[in-house]
């Protein structure tokens, strides 16, 4: 565990030394703010659901782009520069490398997501805010971001080209995100399948304030599965 923290700390430092981290946080705050205030004034409701609900141009959709962008570098860059050889010959396990990288990228996204709490707090100052659904929404959003991060990290392990890693990650995340809307156009049997595999449907129910163990299980298995495959890919490296 200590080595996971060492890896994570190094990655976080490089996010924050370059402007990457600040760009991510500010962009996220702006998009979330726009989404939030426009719905606040349109509907006049002290409600944070638009912040979490999957829809085009929502914060969650922004994560579909941001997550592969912050993870694309993680392993691909190590392969490209050859530092993978350095780190692979240190006494550290493959899963510790993967877990450390995941933790760093996830922490950056978590900070971005949680920074929108300023909106929640400002709403609660004006009107009555039901914190229960808000907590559920944030919880769902963090799980959602974790799943995208794990997918992005997996895509970064399969190539030494960051751009390829980004595009692969973006395509997988976007398909899992947008397939959700397909359920309204396909036969019922297929619709429930589509609903099950989409990252959006599970977020949707948590955005409504419902915490269902099935949703949690879905995200955790997606995270676990992607990280496990990433670890295997890293283990059977040849170059």
């Amino acid at each position: 565990m200590r080595k996971v923290a060492v890896i994570a700390r190094r990655e976080l430092a490089s996010y924050f030394n370059a402007p990457v981290a600040y760009i991510v946080i500010v962009t996220f705050l702006l998009v979330a703010g726009w989404m939030f205030f426009s719905s606040l004034f349109l509907m006049g409701r002290a409600d944070l659901r638009p912040l979490f609900a999957p829809s085009p141009f929502s914060p969650s959709m922004l994560l579909v782009i941001i997550a592969p962008a912050v993870t694309m570098r993680l392993i691909a860059e190590e392969r490209k520069s050859g530092t993978i050889e350095l780190i692979s010959t240190m006494p550290i396990r493959k899963w510790e490398i993967i877990a450390g990288k995941f933790t760093a990228a996830f922490a950056l996204l978590a900070v971005s997501i949680l920074s929108t709490l300023v909106y929640a707090i400002s709403v609660s100052a004006i009107g009555d805010l039901d914190w229960g659904p808000v907590a559920a929404g944030y919880f769902g959003m963090l799980l959602f971001a974790g799943a995208l991060t794990a997918i992005g990290l997996l895509c970064s392990t399969i190539t030494q080209n960051q751009i390829v890693a980004f595009i692969a990650g973006f395509i997988v995340c976007a398909v899992l995100y947008f397939v959700y809307w397909l359920q309204f156009f396909v036969p019922p049997g297929l619709a429930s399948f589509v609903e099950f595999i989409s990252v959006s449907s599970h977020l949707e129910s948590m955005a409504r304030g419902v915490i269902d163990t099935r949703n949690i299980f879905y995200y955790l298995s997606l995270i676990g599965g992607a990280l496990f495959v990433a670890m295997r890919v890293l283990s059977r490296q040849r170059s």
């Binding site: 530092t83 050889e85 350095l86 010959t89 240190m90 006494p91 040849r238």
Partner: protein, 329 residues
């Protein structure tokens, strides 16, 4: 566990294929505790690939690697914790500062925090890094990168160093410095280093391993590889008497009958009135005494005799080119 008699490094039938490319065929050797061993071979011979397998970066296609008696394949972490490794061309995190990077390496190596700063400073001093500690690694010159790579391999004070071309890309002054550093380190550490600079091996190594085309072609001391009488040449110069051509034929016949002489050829003379010959020594008998006696008893005036051992270059070229030709045939 490992005892003193156990080899610090052992390659046992080690081999690696990349698809259909046979990078390393089957290589076996040992490095004893305390030895400094040079690992030589032409470009593409498989030196780096062998080192990558020894350090647990690559999985061998055949055979196994042992570090301090531990099978790298079975227990890579324990094996890796015993060694410091400088990969070829010193890959480093360009976005980190030198000191931060060394701290990072020390963290991963599990070096205790207490007294660590002092230890790291000591290593930086040895590697000549004190004036670049706060610089980004990406801004360093090749030579300094190489030093950071070396420092990184030393943070946990390992018993074994595996260094892949530690002096490549350095200027002559730095080469001398790093060579001296390696010599110092070799006093209390086992070192396996690869290089293309042959004088460097002669200056620093107790033993030389040469591979070519993924196969081991030599494993011996530098002395044995250069001073072995076989292949040495002896240049002699004699005074020419009247009828130089006749005299040359007579002397040549006499010389070729001397025990320990494998062949005689004409060689450069030292000016008019002298004849030069080059003798190839055959085996373990030093033919110089025989040459002298023959000269005395046959009224031959010997004015010069010089023995030239084979240089490491000669041996290297003979072994590595021969191997290629044999493989082609």
């Amino acid at each position: 566990m490992s005892d003193a008699s156990q080899a610090m490094v052992e390659a046992r039938g080690l081999g690696k294929d990349y698809g259909t490319t046979r990078a390393v065929d089957t290589v076996s050797f040992k490095v004893a505790r305390g030895e400094v061993v040079g690992f030589l071979g032409p470009n593409g011979a498989g030196k780096s690939t062998t080192m990558k397998m020894l350090t647990g970066y690559l999985k061998p296609s055949r055979g196994s690697a042992f570090i301090g008696g531990i099978d790298v394949g079975d227990d890579p972490l324990t094996a890796q914790s015993k060694l410091g490794y400088l990969p070829e061309s010193a890959p480093l995190y360009d976005d980190m500062m030198v000191l931060d990077f060394l701290e990072f390496a020390a963290d991963l190596r599990g070096v205790a925090k207490a007294g660590r700063r002092e230890k790291l400073k000591g290593i930086c001093e040895r590697c000549g890094l004190l004036n670049v500690l706060g610089k980004d690694i990406g801004q360093l010159s090749k030579g300094y990168r190489q030093r950071v790579g070396l420092a990184q391999a030393l943070v946990h004070d390992p018993d074994l160093l595996i260094l892949d071309e530690p002096t490549s890309g350095l200027d002559p002054n730095q080469i001398v410095e790093i060579r001296q550093l390696i010599k110092d380190l070799g006093r209390d550490k086992t070192i396996l280093l690869s290089t293309h600079i042959l004088p460097e091996v002669q200056a620093t190594c107790d033993r030389i391993i040469i591979i070519a085309d993924g196969k081991l072609v030599a494993d011996d001391t530098p002395e044995a590889l250069t001073e072995g009488t076989a292949g040495a040449t002896i240049q002699i110069v004699v005074k020419a008497k009247a009828g130089a051509a006749l005299e040359a034929a007579r002397v040549m016949a006499l010389l070729s009958n001397i025990p320990g002489v494998r062949g005689v050829a004409n060689a450069e003379a030292e000016g008019p009135g002298t004849l030069g010959f080059a003798l190839r020594a055959a085996g373990d008998v030093d033919p110089r005494e025989g040459i002298f006696n023959t000269a005395v008893s046959n009224d031959m005036v010997l004015v010069g005799m010089q023995r030239r051992g084979v240089s490491l270059e000669d041996t290297f070229r003979r072994l590595t080119r021969g191997e290629k030709e044999a493989a082609r045939a």
